[in-house]
Amino acid sequence: MEAATHQPTNAPAPLDASPPKLTIEKFADAGIACLKFAGTIDESFEGKRLGDTAAGDVLVLDLGGVKKISSFGIREWVDFVGAASKRVRSMVLIECAPKVVDQLNMVANFAGGGRVFSFYAPFRCDYCDSEHRVLLQVDKDHETIKSMKLAERPCPSCKEGMYFDDDGATYFSYLLGQEKFELEPEVAAFLSSKLSYAVSDLSRKLRVDKVIEGRTTYLRLAGDLDGMFPREKLAEGLEGTVILDVGSVGRIEPAGAAEWRGFVQMVSPLVDALYLASVPAAFLEKLCGREDLGPKGMVLTFVLPFACKACGTTTQQTIDVEAHHDVLKFATAPELRCTGCKGALQCAASENLMSLLPELPKPSHGADLVRSIGMLRERAVQAAAQHKRSDKKSVQPIAVPEQRTSLLVPFLAASLAVVLAAGGYLAYQRFAKSDEPTGSVQRSAQVRPAWSNGLEPATASCTAADGGLACAGASSLAPRQDEAEDEAADAALEALAHAIGEKIADAKWQAVVPALYRSTRDAKLAAFKTDPASATARREVRDGRRTVAASLRASSGGIVHGTPADRYWEERGGADGKRFAAFARVGVTKAELAKLVAAYAKPSEALGATVVDAFPLVAWRYPKLERGAIVVGLAAGQLQEIGVDKGYVVLSIDGRDVGDGAAFARLALDEVGTLAIRGGSLRLKVQTPDPEPREFSAAVAAVAVDPPPGDPKKPGGGRTGPGPTPTNGGSGGVNVWDRLGGGGGAKGGGRDDPNQ
């Protein structure tokens, strides 16, 4: 990968040290290039000239930093995209700044042949007078864009609501005319792993390409290093000299770093040498200490940023550790020359990174090994591409790729030995869509269980069983067996929660609670049913079920646990590699069902409100909501006065979490009682229909020691302060005097003093 920063070539020479109007950074890897624009596009931008330099397969234009575009700049820009689009297969515009969106709306052909994948929407917060941008993607935010409305959201600065500061019909006019699309996986992987763009969850998944050449095994890792790193499967069968090309590794998460260290520890006894190649700076800082590398680990090459002051470019240079070890051991970078102007390059790496260089062990390899990396990388990329192309053309189950050539997911290869009979295919044909994997190759049981028959992918259903319920769920096709099994179990549990909800007969509950989740749930399930191939729709259903299942497990009082009663999975080979379909069944007995129905519908009362436990299905709408109390009834009282409404979910009272309805009543009484003594604010954190919870508060004055004469029966008669006046004595509907030892009726002055 290379990166270069330059300003327009014909820009007038700056008369002072003012920054250039426009900077364009270039990042490239294999056939994908990304140009990152920042600044003003005006007459000094040499559009056609830059467009003529475009090359490769996909050109990504990052326009997030564009501040202004003059009308002549538009002309140059249109020349640029026109020239560039002829030289690349496809062009994608990402992170378009509002200014760019304005131009897309105003100028015909501003995008050339490119498509907009993501863009910023301007938001404004009037509370703290700040402006913000929110990134939207045409794939996952398609419905929002179609609606031409963006909901208010919490201001990152002050947490108050900020609003979309433009006219939806105008702002989304161009995007509405563009068809929804998803990034090609290679492009998404490039953007997320190389450049840390937020694209999609799928794109950040680690991909592994493998080439074996004699005693040397070359592994090319691309994607994020997270807790999903398959260290055991990756370590299987490694021997001889292993080269790990980590140049395309993106973000490194703590869990991923731990997995990586475990992997290195695991393979060290098995291999002769473990070489790391093209190590990015972040990887070098986090995972290339002596302990991390282990006894056989060595860095062959790593990447450092160098700047050329003469021509104003910044490039990433690959450093051969063996060749430059004599320099590196003094924590200095080798002297390099700019390939453009031959001027001296200056290392732009951080001091922290430089301080690690002396610790790097000197590799004991020949120069041939370093030279061979380029060839191995090329073979790995070609083989992966060829593998993919052949997959796309074929409708037949693909042959297992030969391990010694290239594997997209090599750690799955060992499990492909068993190819099951064609009966599996027939039993599983519901999953066999034309563009989806076909042909069952492995399964958890010889015969598919009857309870799983009839289940479409990513669906679930419940049946009555001896007064109880049995719910079965099916996963969509997942890349991993455990993922598929989890998805199936979540689907079954979500169906169980839904069935429980339907069994609740309480009118108040039915009037309020289902309304909280029904439309969200139905919309997401319908979106998936309409377009099962949509990764977004599938993800939304999967995530929704996961949160509901987690909530059910947590709130069921131990009745529902994580392990399904029955499980079954199948492995399939297909166009996108191995996929797994799983099925799970959960159940509750008649007594358990009755207990769950009663528990979720059990009302508690305080502050004039009737509440029930947060029901698991509410997680469809509020994924972050794990516990709380749903307001299903509201009479006059403090809760009503401060604006809480039916359907709101109380999450905490004065910072104390409300676990369920009963906890709400307990905490509310306690808090009001305390406030009656000391005075202060009743503060509730409440999930309203807004996406983020809001805080409701009302001042509550301490009760006066001596109630005013003439009004001795009003316990709140002596209250002061600006808070709302409770209808029944400043206690929000709770007779705090009883709790404090006072009587409910007429009281003497002394007894009204809570201090006594």
Binding site: S70, F72, M106, R124, E131, T170
Partner: protein, 337 residues
């Protein structure tokens, strides 16, 4: 000046008539299109005002009466009104209004009424005496009792406004002026986008004044062919930019001493931009400058004295948020002598 005001909302019609009357004009409000012909005949009117909704009627009346001019107001996008401006050379003014229940801005109505009345008196053309180069933008206040001539910034802003005036001769001075204008907007603590937008507008107008307007002795464009070139204008060619604000409005005025802007440049440029943003490269630029002006301002005023000067004034309402601004109907005025 005698005017007939067709406005279906009687209250609005009366209010506009009152503003017209305040300029010394006679104004007859009617709320039924069927009464227009009679009112025009009875009053021998020389101006017919109406919402663009009744644009066809206005255009028809203008065709039928040679001395009659038209004035439109609208609560809708400018594109609908532009059709009538393009078709009829005697409709030069479109006033934006918030909605169908609201009148156009009083200040704008009065200014337009006075200028139309002044133009109708057919005074001999002369340059605007108030638009001097003293460095004080308020010096642009017109002393012309007829109101026929381009007013200075004072006519667009409330009393007590502040601002500055800069002469621009070179690309460097242009960039400095743009930066100073953007800074001036930012100093008002308005959304950053407003400052950027106004800076962009200043850049656009100055580019036109510096590269499009100048011609040589033979009337051939001097710089239009190469906008990338660094240029230095002679004293007699320099552009002038004025920026002012009264806290509720921003006003930007750019003037060149050539007076070459034609009505069709404005109308065609806007029509092309509003119709879909097709570029026009025939004149060296992108042909989208008018759209930039349209998108960055609430009202645009073009004052041209042929061969003497072109002055473009853009107004922006600061009390609107950008969402409201996007949907606000825009005003367009073209004056030429």
């Amino acid at each position: 000046m005698r005017s007939v005001i067709l406005e279906r909302n009687k209250l609005v019609g009366r209010k506009v008539a009152r503003w017209f009357a305040a300029t010394g004009a006679t104004a007859v409000p009617v709320d039924d299109p069927g009464q227009v012909a009679a009112a025009l005949d009875e009053t021998a009117a020389d101006l017919l005002c109406a919402d663009t909704f009744d644009g066809d009627l206005v255009a028809e009346c203008i065709r039928a009466r040679p001395g009659l001019r038209g004035l439109l107001w609208t609560a809708e996008p400018l594109r609908r009104s532009l059709r009538y401006v393009a078709e009829s050379a005697r409709i030069d003014n479109v006033l934006g209004r918030r909605d169908f229940e609201s009148p156009p801005r009083a200040r704008e109505v009065v200014m337009v009424a006075r200028r139309i009345a002044g133009a109708a008196k057919r005074r001999p053309p002369h340059d605007d005496p108030g638009a001097g180069r003293s460095g004080d933008p308020s010096s642009g206040r017109s002393n012309d009792p007829t109101g026929a001539h381009a007013p200075g910034l004072a006519a667009y802003l409330d009393w007590g406004f502040t601002g500055f005036e800069l002469d621009v001769r070179s690309s460097r001075e242009r960039d400095d002026a743009v930066a100073r204008i953007a800074d001036g907007v930012h100093a008002l603590a308005v959304p950053r986008r407003v400052g950027e937008m106004f800076g962009e507008l200043a850049h656009e107008l100055l580019m036109n004044a510096m590269y499009d307007a100048p011609v040589d002795a033979h009337g051939r464009p001097r710089f239009a062919g190469d906008r990338k070139a660094d240029i230095v204008l002679d004293d007699g060619e320099r552009a002038t930019v004025r920026f002012g604000t009264d806290g509720s409005r921003l006003a930007l005025q750019v003037r060149d001493p050539f007076g070459r802007l034609e009505r069709h440049h404005v109308v065609d440029g806007l029509a092309r931009g509003l119709a879909g943003g097709e570029m026009d490269r025939a004149h060296g630029g992108a042909g989208l400058g008018m759209m930039v002006c349209h998108n960055s301002s609430s009202a645009m005023f073009f004052d041209v004295v042929r061969g003497r000067h072109t002055e473009v004034t853009a107004l922006f309402e600061l009390d609107l948020n950008l969402r409201e601004f996007r949907t606000q109907a825009r005003s367009l005025h073209f004056w030429s002598r």
